[in-house]
């Protein structure tokens, strides 16, 4: 024991000493910065990205190198999405809906792929047929969905009634690839950057496309280095081995800012929320009582969550999808004030009275809930489960935290209804506000039963409203109906308790200018970035 203590003391002393020595040697920020681009030969940029999650595909699935989830602007879609979730022209200049279920796109002229091929309707058909071979994706593209009207006009008729095609086509999965090329060996698109090289799990390199149809990027070359470890990306930035690090954990931001780095935070592109199992199956019956569900909503101090757990890098939103996607209709969703007294009153009304250990009881049974954290991964939630455990305990609810090792295990539990509270972080990767509510909570589902509906679907009026939202061609009505569906889900049924809007935090060297973080990292653009003098 003594040896162990001595050893610990020794190690602690040594590390403190080394850190002290290091801090004495620490250099000051070099004061670079400015708004004028540096000379062209200096326009080389290194980005520290997360793990390499590209796939070469296989079978009917397309490869995703350069495309998804790290979109490095080699490819472009017919449309693109801005930070406000507006759908903007890209390779299509305009589009219109032709009832009953067809979309016509006018294509941009004078665009060439990086290999010199002309971009035209054939190229779009080629890409959409590849998507069809892989199952059709979210838009439901089938083998016969794409019809060429002329060289620069196509019509797309999804396999099912789909009013949201343009909003869905902003996703990189539907970006246009050059016909006759092999995306795994030599990704060829029309984007502002051309593929140079790819070393799996090490780096992917692009160079400026000097024949780009739009405004030419200033950067001549970008190297994206895959650095899976959060701390590794941070250290790479501090060691000046990368000029920009994507997705830095909030707890590291303060010190980086103090050392002169620039922090670029996107608008919320994801949300943190709890879904409440009200099915009453497999013995998980406590949350069948609506009063207990609402009490949980009131018990949570979101201000403390944002400041304490997210270090201020989160939005106090309670909408489940980013509020800017809903526009003014977002006001329809009320959410929950932090009101522990109200929470306690509701619990007592539901018959849950304080026990000797502070945990409420009813009929001798403690008010104990299981919280499952595992989507998209347990790590993604950081300390949120413990925060919730603490908050709920303050009103007399005991929470057991269960972290699942992956999404499949998480959903296997879901199939067994095994859990009360399900902590999720969902991403809004396209411009369709109704996508996630319809995918997860609509009893018939956008793609059938994906395991969520038997546990969470409120049915009744929610189904009516979300069905209308999915079916309407009118954008404003879509926002209003989606907001109404979320109002039912959150305020009335308390099946979803939103916690915060999640943002991505990117950190840049002082001399990197022009980067604007997109709400969803899939939509980051690098053609506006430059190295300043």
């Amino acid at each position: 024991m003594r040896t162990s203590h001595t050893l610990r003391t020794g190690i602690t002393t040594l590390s403190l000493l080394l850190v002290f020595v290091a801090s004495c040697m620490r250099g000051q920020p070099d004061g670079r910065g400015g708004t004028q681009p540096a000379p062209p030969e200096e326009q080389e940029h290194v980005v520290g990205a997360g793990a390499d999650r590209y796939t070469s595909g296989g079978g009917s699935d397309q490869g995703t190198i350069g495309l998804y989830p790290l979109n490095i602007n080699i490819f472009e879609g017919l449309v693109r999405m801005d930070a406000q979730y507006n759908v903007l022209p890209s390779l299509a200049t305009s589009w219109e809906f032709l009832p009953p279920n067809t979309w016509r796109f006018e294509l941009r002229r004078g665009v060439r792929f990086h290999d010199g091929q002309r971009f035209d309707a054939e190229a779009v058909k080629h890409t959409f047929n590849l998507v069809a071979e892989g199952g059709g994706g979210t838009p439901g593209l089938g083998e016969d969905s794409t019809e060429i009207i002329d060289d620069y006009t196509i019509e797309v008729t999804p396999m099912f009634e789909n009013r949201r095609l343009p909003q869905q086509l902003v996703h990189p999965n539907y970006f246009i690839v050059a016909p006759g090329t092999e995306p795994n060996d030599d990704p060829v698109g029309t984007g502002p950057f051309k593929f140079v090289s790819y070393r799996p799990q090490e780096e992917i390199v692009v160079a400026r496309n000097d024949d780009y149809w739009g405004e030419l990027p200033t950067l001549r070359r970008i190297t994206f280095r895959f650095i899976p470890n959060d701390n590794g990306r941070r250290l790479a930035l501090e060691a000046r081995e990368v000029d920009m690090a994507l997705d830095i954990p909030p707890d590291a931001v303060g010190e980086l800012e103090a050392r002169g780095f620039t922090v670029e935070v996107g608008e919320p592109g994801a949300y943190e929320a709890i879904y409440l199992n009200k099915s009453g199956r497999s013995g998980y019956t406590i949350l069948t009582d609506e009063r207990v569900r609402h009490a949980i909503g009131y018990a949570i101090d979101r201000e403390a969550l944002v400041e304490g757990v997210f270090e201020g890098y989160a939005a106090r939103e309670q909408t489940m999808v980013p509020s800017r996607l809903l526009g003014e209709a977002a006001g329809r969703i009320e959410g929950y004030e932090h009101d522990p007294a109200q929470a306690e009153a509701l619990l007592e009304e539901a018959g849950w009275m304080p026990g000797p250990d502070g945990i409420r009881q009813k009929g001798g049974e403690p008010l104990r809930l299981e919280l499952i954290a595992g989507f998209p991964s347990a790590e993604e939630h950081g300390a949120v489960p413990e925060f919730l455990q603490d908050q709920l305990r303050r009103v007399g609810i005991d929470v057991e935290i269960i972290r699942t090792p992956d999404t499949a295990s998480y959903e296997a539990r879901l199939d067994r209804f095994a859990g009360d509270l399900w902590l999720e972080q969902g991403s809004q990767n396209d411009a369709n506000p109704a996508f996630l509510p319809a995918l997860l909570f609509w009893s018939i589902g956008l793609f059938g039963n994906i395991g969520y509906q038997p546990v969470f679907a409120p049915k009744g009026r929610f189904d009516e409203v979300i069905a209308r939202a999915v079916a309407t061609p009118d954008e404003e009505e879509l926002k209003e109906l989606t907001a109404e569906a979320l109002h039912i889900l959150i305020d009335q049924e308390a099946i979803v308790i939103p916690l915060a809007g999640v943002v991505t935090v990117n950190v840049l060297d002082q001399n990197v200018e022009g980067f604007e973080a997109a709400p969803s990292g899939l939509h980051n653009r690098y053609d506006t970035v430059y190295i300043a003098e």
């Binding site: 080394l18 799990q201 992956d406 959903e411 793609f447």
Partner: protein
Amino acid sequence: MVAYIARRVAYLIPTWIGITLLAFFLVRLAPGDAAHSYFVRVHDRQPNQAELASTRARLGLDRPLPIQYLDWLGGAVRGDLGTSYYSGREVTDELVSRFPATLQLATAATLITLVIAIPLGVVAAIRRNSLLDHLLRVAALLGASVPAFWLALLLIIVFSVELQWLPALGRDGLQHLVLPALALALGEAAVVARLMRSSLLEVLGEDYIMTARAKGVPERRVVIRHALRNSLGAVVTEVGMVFAILLAYSAVIEIIFVWPGIGRLAVEAIGQRDYTMLQGFVVFSGTVFVLVSLVVDLVYLWLDPRVALAQGRGVR
């Protein structure tokens, strides 16, 4: 001796089959579902039951486990370890292309281990119970106790972030090798230094050393010419194991230093439920481990032919 070598080589076959069985079935005992993970990643949403079933069929996961195993084993015998569920690339190609990086790291770490450990062990032995010996013992204890990941981060902070003397991440040249090899080697060097010390002390207590001293052979010559050579036997034998251990430990270091080796590949495969990659890694690294052990045994046999004789007589 030939019979011993033949028997030793023949043992490799059941050992290798055992490795493939463990690799295949242990990976499948882990929680998770490769088909589900694959679908979510490719399609950016959760699958319904029909989509999950079709993905399982496409990945060949819907067949009975023994059939899957035999199919995979047949490929493995021919050097085809299948296709990664995650990246879609050939597992054998991935492992073969990454192994040189791990080999380079483990070799450099082994050399550093020896360069540090042998002089330290010798000094500690000949200055037994001196202040220097005590200091070295504490240093060895520290080296063996400090987790490699902590040491790795400390090295990066000091030498890359603050001093900016050495690169922190990646593998672009010899200068990139220094920090990861050091982080990997220091812990093992401490262990080998202790082994060197005790081995040398044991030899220094032998009668022939006393005789040499009695004959007036200078102490330096006694240590270097007579004692050190004989005490190195145990250390040299240990080097094979050290090398194999460093190969295995390299995963943590590869993750931290973004070193493109097979250890990092394996750790990422675990997170991605990439069964084929994990199986491939276990079989590949298991095979390397077994071959290194064989080489060590053969070297030992060459050094001391009595081993074969003892084995032939059933002496353990």
